[in-house]
Symmetry: C2
């Protein structure tokens, strides 16, 4: 026997919470303005650590239930000790997580039941850009391929591809964004 709470879940997501958020932002658009944050500390060589603890949303400062620590390093061939995924791999992680969440959440709202969802990502970087060996070679990713395998009704496939387009990280990567860097003495 299902409880009322279970009935309001789709793809595991509490639709009541989601619908309340949508309704509140529709009434007061300023509630949708978010500021996400991270702090990073260089440890040694190519090893550094990011801490994520809070953000701004719904017109207030919010705190995560726990502090997240994420380590970045490089593999030995790139002069690191492999103490963490490297930053461009962390970027693929951000993209994978975001498209997955966007698919699952938007599908939930539209009544599309997803049984399972997995993805494989691969992106191309030519190190000559980063190393400054060829000014005409892009320093970042030139192409990223994301392949999803999803278990759902076959009629949902085309719709799911449309829903992937809502992903904030996907949009940041495909449209680009402004990044302002300031460097000051500590």
């Amino acid at each position: 026997m299902q409880t009322a709470q279970e009935i309001n879940r789709a793809n595991g997501i509490d639709l009541n919470v989601l619908k309340e958020t949508v309704s509140a932002i529709r009434k007061d658009p300023d509630l949708g303005k978010c500021k996400f944050r991270a702090r990073n500390k260089w440890i040694d060589a190519n090893h550094n650590c990011t801490t994520i603890s809070g953000f701004y949303a719904a017109k207030q400062e919010m705190t995560h239930k726990q502090k997240f620590e994420l380590h970045a390093d490089e593999p030995p061939i790139l002069a690191g000790e492999d103490e963490g995924a490297n930053p461009v791999e962390h970027l693929l992680n951000a993209l994978a997580g975001c498209v997955t969440t966007s698919l699952v959440a938007h599908a939930a709202v539209q009544g599309i039941h997803i049984e399972s969802l997995e993805s494989e990502l691969e992106g191309d970087i030519d190190l000559r850009g980063f190393l400054g060996l060829a000014p005409d070679v892009p320093k970042g990713y030139t192409n990223i391929r994301v392949k999803f395998k999803v278990r759902t009704d076959s009629e949902n496939m085309k719709k799911l591809k449309e829903l992937a387009q809502f992903s904030p990280v996907y949009n940041t990567l495909t449209h680009g964004t402004n990044v302002d860097i300031e460097i000051e003495p500590s």
Copy 2:
């Protein structure tokens, strides 16, 4: 007393390894072509997990010393359980780690000694984009601010700002990239 190995380190980075890599790629540009990879599995609701284990570089398949697992979730206000940083926070982590590594490595090659380096990042997202409430509102980040505090000779500040521009994640975000998404039945 320093050993020969210590003498060849700058900012903790083994300059011999770095110089060998640069020299090899200069002779054979194909050695610079890398493919970075990630796999993601949806767990439940907004919770998913990325695994990173290998990549392609220097014309061969490489394996990390350890497998990296990275969890993404959303905070309760975004209908999640806070089991991991959310994907747009993971994106800030990727940017923080990449600019930090780029600064430290390029500074090492140029003989710039960095004593300490920390950064704070903040990015703006208007949820109306992701939620589909306003088609004219961007779905991704509209602006990201990165503030570094660095302990080094004051004369290095301007140079460090130039070196930050080598970061692959910074360049991916500011120039944008192609992302191809395929969705298939599993």
